[in-house]
C-alpha cells in the first residue's frame, strides 16, 4: 500500500510514454497529433536509410566508447591517488567534483567559450610565448612534434598546428568530435572517480594485510587482490557512464548543435531534430528507440554484476 503511489506514478510517467514511443514509431504521426496511420516498421527502415542517421549512430558509439575509455583510465589513477588522506584533500576533491555538480548545459557553455573560433584560450596557450621576457617557449612546437610521430601510424592523419591559423575546434569535423569526447569525459570523470573511490575504500583492511603477509606487493597485489575485489563496482560505474553519455543530448546540442554539416549528430540530437524541429514525431521516436537495445543490455549486465557483489 505504501509503494502503490510511487509505482503508479512511475508506470504512468515512464511506462506509458515508453509504450507511446513504441506506438508512435510505428505510425506516421506528426506534430500536433498523437495518432497516425499504422505504418509498421516503415519508420525504422526509412530512418536507417538516411546518411545522417548512420552518422548519428556511429557518433553515439564512438563518443561513448572513447570518452568512457578516458574516464576509466583517469578514474582508476585518480581514485588510487585520493585513497589515502593528505593535506588539502577536501579542497582538491571539491575541485575534482565541480564538473559533475555543475549543470551540464551551463558548463558546456564554458567549453563553447574555451573552444571559441577567435578567442580560444586553448589556442592562445598553444601559439604564444609562454616564458616571460621572450623565453621563446611555444607549446605548439612539442605538440607538433608529437603529432608528427602519430602521423607515422597507419590510418591516422593528425595534421599539425599552424600558429598563424590555429585550430577551429568546433568548426572542423575531426576536432569537433574530439571536443565532444573531451567534454563528455570531463563531466563523467568525477562521477566515476567517486564511485571507484567508494569501491576501493570498501576493501577491508584485513584483506590488504593478508595479501601483504603472503608477500603480494605492488602490481601483483593490484592484479590478484585489488582488481578482482573492485571490478564489479568499477563495472557498475562504467555502465552508468555509458548510459549517461549515450543518452545525453545536452553536450552536443550546446557545443556543436550537430554541426559542422551534421557531422557530429548523435542519436538523441537527431531524434530531437527529426521529432521536434522537423515535426516527424513517428520518425523521431524511431530514432530514439534505436537506443533501447543498448539500454536493455546494460540493464541486464547491471543486474548480473549487482548480484555478483551481493554474493561476494
Amino acid at each position: 500500500m505504501l509503494i502503490g503511489p510511487a509505482v503508479l506514478f512511475i508506470v504512468l510517467l515512464v511506462g506509458v510514454p515508453l509504450g507511446l514511443a513504441v506506438y508512435l514509431s510505428l505510425t506516421n504521426a506528426t506534430a500536433g497529433s498523437l495518432t497516425g496511420h499504422w505504418v509498421g516498421f516503415h519508420n525504422f527502415v526509412d530512418v536507417w536509410n538516411t546518411p545522417n542517421f548512420r552518422t548519428a549512430l556511429k557518433n553515439t558509439i564512438v563518443f561513448t566508447l572513447a570518452s568512457q575509455a578516458l574516464v576509466v583510465v583517469g578514474a582508476a589513477i585518480l581514485a588510487h591517488a585520493l585513497l589515502r588522506p593528505f593535506r588539502g584533500r577536501w579542497f582538491l576533491r571539491f575541485l575534482i567534483v565541480l564538473p559533475w555538480a555543475a549543470p551540464v548545459a551551463l558548463s558546456t557553455i564554458g567549453f563553447l567559450w574555451i573552444f571559441d573560433s577567435q578567442f580560444s584560450v586553448l589556442n592562445w596557450t598553444l601559439v604564444h610565448d609562454l616564458l616571460p621576457g621572450g623565453g621563446h617557449f611555444y607549446l605548439y612546437k612539442p605538440v607538433n612534434w608529437l603529432l608528427g610521430g602519430i602521423d607515422h601510424l597507419p590510418f591516422v592523419h593528425a595534421g599539425k598546428v599552424d600558429p598563424l591559423n590555429p585550430p577551429q575546434w568546433l568548426g572542423q569535423e575531426t576536432l569537433a568530435k574530439l571536443s565532444i569526447i573531451l567534454v563528455q569525459a570531463w563531466r563523467i570523470l568525477p562521477f566515476a572517480t567517486v564511485i571507484f573511490l567508494a569501491g576501493l575504500s570498501s576493501i577491508p583492511a584485513e584483506v590488504e594485510d593478508a595479501a601483504r603477509m603472503d608477500g603480494a606487493t605492488g602490481l601483483r597485489k593490484f592484479w590478484h587482490v585489488t582488481l578482482p575485489l573492485q571490478l564489479p563496482i568499477a563495472v557498475v560505474a562504467l555502465l552508468f557512464g555509458i548510459v549517461f553519455t549515450a543518452t545525453d543530448m545536452t553536450v552536443v546540442y550546446v557545443l556543436t548543435n550537430g554541426g559542422p554539416f551534421n557531422s557530429t549528430q548523435v542519436l538523441t540530437t537527431w531524434a530531437y531534430q527529426t521529432g521536434i524541429v522537423s515535426s516527424s514525431l513517428g520518425e523521431g521516436a524511431a530514432v530514439s528507440l534505436y537506443l533501447l537495445p543498448v539500454l536493455a543490455v546494460i540493464a541486464i549486465l547491471m543486474l548480473r554484476f549487482a548480484r555478483k557483489v551481493e554474493v561476494s
Binding site: V7, F94, A101, A102, L106, T247, V309
Partner: protein, 287 residues
C-alpha cells in the same frame, strides 16, 4: 614526517594536482572571463589569464562587475532562477511524498516480491529522458500544459522518484527493526512510529534526497527545451544557452557569470553530501 611519507604524499599531489587543474580549469576561466571588460577580453594582445586595463577603455577598469549586474537587470535571469527554484521545490515535495513511504516499505518488505519491485524501480532510472521526451511532449500539449512550468513539475518526478526510492531504501535498511517495534510497543501506531521515530533519525538520508532531487531538476535540459518555448517561463539550464545567446552574438562575460552562480552553489552542496550520494549508486544496491 618520514621520508617515505613525504614521498607517498608527494606522489598523491603529483597525480591529483594535474587532474584537479584540468577538471577545474573551465571554472577558473569562467571567473576570469566574467570580470573582464570588452576592451580587455577581445584584445588578442593581452595575456588572457590576467586582467589588463587599457587607457581610454569606455568600460573603465578591468576587472569589472558591470557584466554580472547586466544579467540581473537586463535579462530574464532572475526570472529563470525563480522558475528553477519553484519547479525544484515542488518536485522535491512530490518526490518525498512518493518516495519516503515506498522506500520504507521496500526496505521492510522481505522476499521475492519486494526485491523485484525494488529492482524494477531501479531499472526505470535507466530509461533516459531522451527516449521519453517525444511522446511526453505530445501528452503535455494534450493536457494544455505547453509552455507552463507545471509541465516540468509533473514530469520531473519520473526520474527523481526512482532514484530517491532506491537511495532511501538503502538508508532505511540500516535502521534496526527493533526501534520501531519498541515504539509500537509503547502504544504508537505504525504510522506514528514512522513519523516520530524513523523519519527523524533518517533526516540525513532525507536531506540527501532533497539535494539530489533539486540538482537533478536544475540539470534537466531535454524536457525543459521541448516543453517550454516562452523565454520568461524557462529554467536556468535552457534559458541561459538559448536566450542569452542572441543569434550569433555572445555576451561572453554575462554568459560565464550566469553559468558560474548556480554551478558553484550546487558544487558546494554536492561536496557536503557526496558520501551519501555514492551509496545511492553502490551501497543501496548491494547491501
Amino acid at each position: 614526517m618520514t621520508w617515505s611519507a613525504i614521498r607517498s604524499h608527494g606522489l598523491s599531489y603529483l597525480i591529483v594536482g594535474p587532474f584537479a587543474i584540468v577538471l577545474a580549469f573551465p571554472f577558473y576561466w569562467m571567473v576570469t572571463t566574467a570580470l573582464k571588460t570588452n576592451g580587455d577580453l577581445y584584445n588578442l594582445a593581452n595575456v588572457p589569464f590576467k586582467f589588463t586595463t587599457t587607457k581610454g577603455d569606455p568600460e573603465g577598469h578591468s576587472p569589472t562587475l558591470r557584466h554580472i549586474s547586466f544579467i540581473f537587470h537586463q535579462t530574464h535571469y532572475v526570472r529563470w532562477l525563480e522558475n528553477t527554484v519553484f519547479v525544484g521545490a515542488l518536485v522535491v515535495v512530490i518526490t518525498l511524498v512518493l518516495a519516503l513511504p515506498a522506500g520504507y516499505a521496500l526496505a521492510r518488505l522481505s522476499g521475492r516480491l519486494g526485491q523485484s519491485v525494488g529492482v524494477g524501480i531501479f531499472l526505470t532510472y535507466l530509461v533516459p529522458p531522451t527516449l521519453l521526451f517525444l511522446p511526453l511532449s505530445r501528452v503535455i500539449s494534450k493536457l494544455g500544459l505547453e509552455d507552463r512550468l507545471w509541465s516540468l513539475v509533473l514530469v520531473y518526478p519520473s526520474f527523481t522518484v526512482p532514484f530517491s526510492v532506491w537511495l532511501l531504501m538503502g538508508f532505511f535498511r540500516t535502521i534496526p527493526l527493533e526501534l520501531e517495534d519498541a515504539a509500537m510497543m509503547d502504544g504508537c501506531s505504525r504510522l506514528t512510529a514512522l513519523w516520530r521515530v524513523i523519519f527523524p533519525i533518517s533526516l540525513p538520508g532525507i536531506l540527501t534526497v532533497v539535494i539530489f532531487t533539486f540538482s537533478l531538476c536544475v540539470n534537466d535540459f531535454v524536457y525543459a527545451i521541448s516543453f517550454i518555448s516562452i523565454s520568461s517561463n524557462r529554467t536556468l539550464s535552457v534559458g541561459v544557452p538559448t536566450d542569452l545567446i542572441r543569434g550569433d552574438v555572445f555576451f561572453w562575460q554575462s554568459l560565464m557569470a550566469a553559468t558560474l552562480i548556480p554551478s558553484i552553489l550546487l558544487a558546494l552542496l554536492y561536496n557536503s553530501f557526496l558520501n551519501r550520494f555514492i551509496e545511492g549508486f553502490t551501497g543501496g544496491a548491494f547491501r
